[in-house]
Every structure is written in C-alpha cells, then in structure tokens.
Symmetry: C2
Subunit: 223 residues, 2 copies
Amino acid sequence: MRQNFEEELNDLHVHFSEMGMMVNEAIYKSVKAFINHDKDLAHAVIEGDNTINSREAELENKCFELIALQQPVTSDLRKIITVMKASADLERMGDHAVSIAKSTIRVKGNKRVPEIEADIADLAEKVKKSVEDVLEAYLKYDVEKAEEIALNDRIIDKAAYTITEAAINDMKRNSELVIGATDYLLVAAYLERIGDYVTNICEWIIYHETGKVVELNTKNKDI
Amino acid sequence: MRQNFEEELNDLHVHFSEMGMMVNEAIYKSVKAFINHDKDLAHAVIEGDNTINSREAELENKCFELIALQQPVTSDLRKIITVMKASADLERMGDHAVSIAKSTIRVKGNKRVPEIEADIADLAEKVKKSVEDVLEAYLKYDVEKAEEIALNDRIIDKAAYTITEAAINDMKRNSELVIGATDYLLVAAYLERIGDYVTNICEWIIYHETGKVVELNTKNKDI
C-alpha cells in the first residue's frame, strides 16, 4: 500500500511537470502567433487550452482522492497541496496564453509598431525563461532558486511597464495606432501576470520545503 | 474532539464569509475612488489589501492544519478544500480591486468621458451584486443559485466588452483621451476578471455538494 502511494505521489509530480511544459509551450506559441500575425497558430493555442484545463481537473481530482483515501501527513500532504495550488496557477497562465492568442485573432490589418513588437518578443523570452526555471526548481524543490526567480520578476514587471508606456505614447501620437497599441498594452499585461503566477509557484516550492505560506514580492502586482 | 472539529469547520466558514465581505468592500471602494477621482480612498484600498492577504494566508494555514491533524473524509474534507480554493479566488479579486485603485492614482488631470464612467459604475454595480450573491450562495451551499450566478457572468462580460469598444473609439477620435481611455479599458477588464473569479467560486460551491470539479462558462474568459 505504502509503495503504491509513493508511486501515486510520483505520478502526480510527473503529471504536474508535463502540464507545466504544456503551459510553457502555449505561452511561447501565443506570443509567436501574435508577433507573426499567425492566426492559425493562435487558434491552435485556444483549442489546446482545453487539454490544459482537463489536465488541471485531473490533477485536482487526483489530489482530492489521495488526501481522502491516504490521509497523508506532513511532507506527503504538503506535496499534494503544492501540486493542487501550483496547478491552479499553471492553469491561469494558460488562460493568459489564450488571451494573447485572442488578441492575435482580433487584429485586422491594424498599423503595427515593429519596435514595440520587438520589445514584446523580448519580454516573452524573459517570461519563458522564468517559466522554465520555475518548473526546474519545482522538480528539485529548490528553495534558493525559487527565491531568486521570484526576485527576477521585477525585471519582467519593468519590461512590461516600458511597453505600456511606449504603447500609450504611440496612441497619443497617431490615432491609427490605437487598436494595435491597445493589444500591445494588453499582451504586456498578460505576460506580466504570467510572471506573477510564476512567483506564486515559487511560493509553493517554499511551502513544500518549510510548511510556511510566504508572500514573495509584496509589491505592485499590477502595472 | 469531534465537537471541536465541528466548531473549527464552522469558524472556517465564518472567516471565509468575512473575507468575502472585505473583498466586496474593496471592490466597491476601488470603483468609487476611480469614478470620484478620490486618491485617498484609492490609497485606503491598496493598504487594506494586506489585511485581505493575511486573512487568506490564515485561512489557508488553518485548512492545511485541519487536513493534517483531523484527517477529514468526504463532506468535511470537501468543506475544507472548498474554503482553500475559494479563498484563493477571493484574494485575487482583492488584487484586482488594488489594480483599479492604482489606476485611480495614476490619473493626473486627464480628459475624462462621463458616459464611459457611468457605464463603468453600472458594470461595477453588476459585479458587486454578483459578489454578494455568490457569498450568499456559498453560505447556503446553494447549487442552483451558483449555476444561475455563473450564467449571469455573460452579462458582465458583455458590459465590459461594450466599455472596451467605446474606449477604443474615443482614443481613435481624440488623442487627448488616450491615457484616460486606457484606464477605462483596464478597469473594465479587471471587473470582468472579478466576474470570472465569482464563477470559480460557483464551481467550488458545486464541488462541495457533488464532489465533482466542473467548469462553468467554458467561453471567452477574456475579452
């Protein structure tokens, strides 16, 4: 019985990591679609979100089941709770990828600003790195790394803020840019939010190791 | 011992409801501050968010403790999990109130559009009603009501979309309106998101009664 439980816990861990990779791919594809005006890819991201949502529901149900049937204590319980909470964060990151994909579809031959799009691509790279880092830190339950990743979120916030400012200035300068620039502003906000969810996962890594619910980066969570 | 556990479960329920009322008040105040250009009130919302965050951390820790020490099964366990998940939703609703408050502080004598502000006030009323309804449905674990509230979220989505469109049109028409209208657009998006979290709580009410994790409104979660 105990052996089985260990295996189930391990499965949970593996399925969580798989879900993380799916979400990371969705974010990457959504930004790629946005930058390349690739509506087909955007549609693929939107459709793929169902799989992510189902995966979360499966993980959640599995967690509930393990808690109810196995009545785990201390570190095993923390492992399950960590998956339960962090998979909800992953699911929301996926929702934001969908939002970015929807921005791509909405765009209908608007005037675009290559400089801002380059900045968005750059911000997306930072976010992608951050998502990959947190998934790795999660696999190793690496608290030190988790704290470092959360601290780096400020760089993401700053880059998102710069894009927002540039988009607002462009809108003021040229009314033909309004619709396109609105999307820049929203996409920057979505990426910034994804960064916040990465910080949440960092907090769950720390909870797993210490049993304490901490709040990292109690700062401007929104631009 | 059992008696104590019942009391602790009841306390959990009461503290969750209190947190819900705090969040509802924060949302209400943030929109009031935005509409009346009341920066003092906006600052009060931002400061008050710490109390909401602490309340969530307390609830979360209490839930973990009860699961670990009492090893509850079936409906008791579901009660605890419901509080754990729904309080995370409440906390995020509070974050969005802070975002609205921050928009208020950012505004520096921009040109404003009374018609859109009236629509935002109207949307905020709808959201407030929805938050109050879900807290009541939660208290009674009223599944039918929860389903009805989730369905009404479409009205909130539609109102938010109308504001977004109006704001974009104004920006195109008059570049002096760009900064103000950007805030209208963001505030509408925050309110719409708060509506989504209300839908999440509806899902937890249903989970509590049925043990099933359902997804209500699998539609455009974002504008």
